[in-house]
Symmetry: C2
Subunit: 211 residues, 2 copies
């Protein structure tokens, strides 16, 4: 087992340091965020920081780093109050990764990434048509983290669009049929396959596998 301490890894050259530290939490979720500017330019960015926060109220959050490409996303959410969160499937992972390039504000990343905008039920932000699982999110508030100049965006879940056949009657969603991907570090994509579903854990009780 190798030990790398803070004073060692902080002396790595900048790209090595970014690659290493970005990899330390292991597999990360990865999503496309769709927004629209006040002048109606659609914007698309890729994030790897979405987390579930609570079921009541139905809240999730993600982090935006203003010094990188997602600045337009941040401004659009502040101005309009809405965004979409679109799951990424293996079949369009290259197009999704291209959304991490630093495009100018007037550029529509949907076009540059060769992904299709979709407008659903008058929601004021564009969805990714190629994504089979997408959320309509409403901005609650922003938590600024001055230590590293990032912004945690607290969002309320308003609408869920998903394939009917992956939702069970008990609320379980079967992701084994969706080819969703995860990312490790900055650039390496993985596809998860199901190992098993386990019963609710209780003290001093054996777990069961749920088929």
């Amino acid at each position: 087992m190798l030990r790398v301490n803070e004073s060692e890894f902080m002396q790595f050259e900048p790209r090595k340091k970014a690659r290493f530290i970005n990899s330390l939490t292991g597999f990360k979720s990865v999503h496309l965020i769709g927004t629209q500017s006040q002048s109606a330019v659609s914007n698309l960015s890729i994030i790897s920081s979405a987390i579930h926060l609570s079921s009541n109220p139905p809240m999730m959050a993600f982090v935006i780093r203003p010094d990188v490409v997602q600045r337009d996303t941040l401004e659009n959410i502040r101005e309009t109050g809405y965004c979409t969160l679109n799951h990424i499937h293996a079949e369009f992972l290259e197009k999704a990764h291209q959304a991490s390039a630093r495009y100018d504000k007037e550029i529509n990343e949907f076009q540059e990434c060769e992904l299709s905008e979709e407008h659903l039920n008058q929601f004021p932000a564009p969805f990714v048509n190629e994504s089979q699982f997408k959320l309509a999110l409403k901005f609650i508030r922003e938590i600024d983290i001055p230590e590293n100049k990032t912004h945690l965006m607290l969002m309320k879940i308003q609408d869920v669009y998903l394939p009917k056949e992956i939702l069970d009657s008990d609320g379980f969603i079967d992701y084994n049929h969706l080819e969703n991907i995860v990312v490790a570090g900055l650039d390496t994509y993985y596809q998860p396959t199901r190992i098993k579903r386990l019963s609710y854990a209780k003290p001093f009780k054996d777990l069961k596998t749920i088929e």
Copy 2:
């Protein structure tokens, strides 16, 4: 494509609602957090909300819900200022899932989950011996989110322990050899396998696959 809107899913019965909303961000990272109380009782809990925050300073964060089992984790981090974050591999996923059971404060979850405590370099929180990839974390501060009574814990990365052979000289970490898992929803575990690594995205440039 099925649409489920907020007024519909908020009327699901409680367990169905929790299962559904917990699944909406797709695959989530999953880790074991090790802490020690002031009276030297070791504590272990499982979280699915760890996110990378920044490389400089080397920061990550995770969410603790005080109404569930991780309350001891929250108190221990507040009192001692430290915790460990341990990656979970497929071979001990049942033991890790058992850490989600609500044990009393005086119970040592390492013992109940049949996982081994490991103490490394005088760090004041226990590591999981079975985990091949683990971080020593120092508490920076806590952000309370009153909307859902959760706590976002901001942590600094002090030490990284990992197998020497998965770290490349450029800082790249090859997770394909570690059998780390991810979780969807509350209880379903998946194992990711590598699809591909892509080059840094630039506007109007084609991506390349990195072998």
